[in-house]
């Protein structure tokens, strides 16, 4: 089983690597780039919201800050288009991470529904700032990124591979957190925060640091989104649709799992692009997207990955491989008998 899984992952990786060579169509490649970026964004969102259970609907706060950071650096220092902006992505991530400290300080004092509302509100505050600090952000006229002088055939290739690197980085961080003592603490917070606190987990530090790491990845992905798009405006940088999409993909794939966010993004982003092309002109795409979110939560509250997992467990159990439950029950009965006899013996 393990070998099979490793082989599958390797095959998938090779496929993703050769994709732009196999299919050199710019339209497809553009969708592929957005898909990779969304997968990275959802993975970044998930390592805080998924693991800790603090569902944020304001992730575009961080993608937006990252986007503006890169745009402002490029215009102020007159950086030419090409490869250099790619090297500045970590700076965009860092700035988003720094912003996340005071934001998290405030937002993380609330829980559950209140937290969701606070994250949305913060995103709109940032959007209003981007509109109104026009001396700094050029307000509603936006910022145009420097133009890259790559030929049409080649144009998508660097963006594609940088996006892939971002995704792999996000997966690596998420994987490490999931397997660490730190990640176990976050999962404990998700299940019962006060209980975790009472078992020595420093919940405040855990939550805030995860929020910052999540923002760091969001900042890099957002900068990449904007650079690929070529321009940035307040409404597209701090975009409620991004908030929604990220959460939707997370829920679809499986919140709090490692691969769920990737599955969600790989399924949903191409579909979303299709919706935008088909129904974007009449605004129907958002209605469909919103309805889909409700439907997913209704039908697959845990997401695809956990649903498949439990299906697999059921199949194994029905095959009679290991019937964990009955085994456990026998053990409990044995234990109780033992203790009853022990007591009699004592008296």
């Amino acid at each position: 089983m393990k070998r099979f899984r490793a082989f599958g992952l390797l095959a998938l990786l090779v496929l993703v690597i050769v994709f732009p060579v196999l299919i050199p169509d710019p339209g497809f490649d553009s969708i592929a780039i957005y898909t990779l970026l969304y997968a990275a964004a959802v993975t970044g969102w998930n390592l805080f919201s998924g693991y800790s259970g603090y569902i944020s609907l304001g992730y575009s706060s961080f993608t937006g800050i990252g986007a503006y950071t890169l745009a402002l650096i490029c215009t102020h220092w007159q950086i030419p288009g090409g490869y250099i902006p790619f090297l500045l992505l970590p700076v965009a991530g860092l700035v988003a991470g720094i912003f996340a400290i005071p934001m998290g300080w405030v937002a993380l004092r609330t829980r559950r529904v209140t937290f969701v509302v606070v994250t949305i509100a913060m995103m709109f505050v940032l959007q209003a700032l981007a509109f109104n600090l026009s001396g700094f952000t050029s307000g509603s006229s936006g910022i145009i990124f420097p133009i890259t002088l790559w030929s049409g055939d080649f144009y998508n290739i660097p963006y594609y591979y940088v996006s892939l690197v971002l995704l792999l980085l996000a997966i690596a961080i998420s994987w490490w957190i999931r397997n660490s003592k730190y990640g176990l603490g976050l999962l404990a917070i998700r299940d019962d925060e006060d209980r975790a606190l009472g078992l020595g987990v420093r919940t405040w530090a855990f939550k805030l640091s995860a929020y910052v790491i999540s923002a760091f990845l969001g900042g890099m992905v957002g900068a990449m989104f904007a650079y690929y798009g070529g321009s940035i405006f307040p409404a597209s940088a701090f975009d409620p649709v991004v908030n929604l999409s990220v959460a939707l993909m997370g829920f679809l794939g499986g919140v709090g799992t490692l691969v769920g966010p990737i599955v969600g993004a790989f399924l949903l982003e191409p579909f979303q692009q299709y919706l935008t092309i088909q129904y974007g002109s009449v605004g129907l795409n958002l209605i469909i997207l919103g309805s889909l979110l409700l439907l997913i939560i209704l039908v697959l509250p845990g997401g695809i990955v956990p649903a498949l997992h439990s299906l697999w467990l059921k199949r194994m159990a029905s095959r009679g491989a290991i019937s964990q439950v009955s085994h456990a029950m026998e053990q409990e009965e044995g234990m109780l008998l033992e203790s009853a006899e022990g007591k009699r013996g004592n008296r």
């Binding site: 003592k181 019962d192 975790a196 020595g200 439950v325 109780l336 203790s339 009853a340």
Partner: protein
């Protein structure tokens, strides 16, 4: 015997209700001390202020020589006060094994970055799961356990941090008589190994059979203490339970 855990003149009010009214208790090293009292007498509130879940308005709480008054729960736990809850609180979506590891204490921030389970920690967790008799369930999501098993799990993961004193809030509540005996037996075994307990319980037979000393609370203060037999006959105690 020396006093391990002590609350001195602790008061706590919620609005106009005085949940704790200059309440003083002490738990001796190596004892099993019972804490009984009618509903609403302040037992759980006392647990909450000792373990840092609530702040006291006045008074002092000490563990051995250290003052732990108004320390946050994570600090209190690290200093050596473990507790279970009246309504058992485990991590339902984590496996039994993962539940055990949440409570394992490591020193230093860097140790948080390594894997959640070292082989040493794993062995210790299995030992304790064995001790409470649920090691066969180690890979099950804890949410799938029966209520009694959840109680055993909560008990086991509090033990893994080797607290100096364990506060049990109704360990015999809501489980069948055989399981009650089993839990009592486990507590006695640990007691023989030197662990100190403070037990809140409504099941009188359980308390009287288990504890060296019993304290009785009423309206936020201690009204009696002594050996179980003496407390049982104390008129003030009978008054508190039956009177008004």
């Amino acid at each position: 015997m020396s006093v391990l855990l002590e609350a001195k003149n602790v008061s706590k009010a919620y609005g106009g209700i005085r949940a704790l009214d200059t309440c003083s208790i002490s738990v001796e090293q190596g004892s099993i001390t019972g804490l009984i009292g009618p509903n609403g007498s302040g037992k759980t509130t006392l647990f909450n202020v000792i373990t840092g879940y609530e702040r006291v308005d006045a008074g002092d709480i000490r563990l051995a020589e250290a003052t732990i008054t108004n320390q946050p729960p994570d600090k209190v736990f690290q200093l050596g006060v473990g507790r279970t809850f009246q309504l058992t609180r485990i991590f339902p979506r984590l496996t039994v094994m993962e539940n055990m590891h949440v409570a394992v204490q490591r020193k230093g921030t860097r140790s948080l970055l390594s894997r959640w389970s070292s082989s040493h920690e794993q062995r210790r967790a299995l030992e304790l799961l064995d001790f409470v008799g649920i090691s066969g369930l180690k890979d099950m999501p804890a949410g799938n356990l029966s209520y009694g098993q959840k109680k055993l799990l909560e008990f086991a993961f509090v033990l893994i941090a080797e607290p100096q004193v364990i506060l049990l809030d109704e360990p015999a509540g809501g489980i069948n008589p055989t399981m009650i005996n089993y839990i009592g037996d486990r507590i006695r075994t640990l007691h023989q190994r030197g662990v100190t307990f403070l037990v809140v319980e409504h099941n009188m037979e359980f308390v009287m059979g288990l504890c060296d000393k019993v304290m009785v609370m009423h309206r936020g203060a201690k009204i009696a203490e002594g050996p179980p037999e003496a407390v049982r006959k104390d008129p003030a105690v009978l008054e508190a339970y039956l009177g008004d």
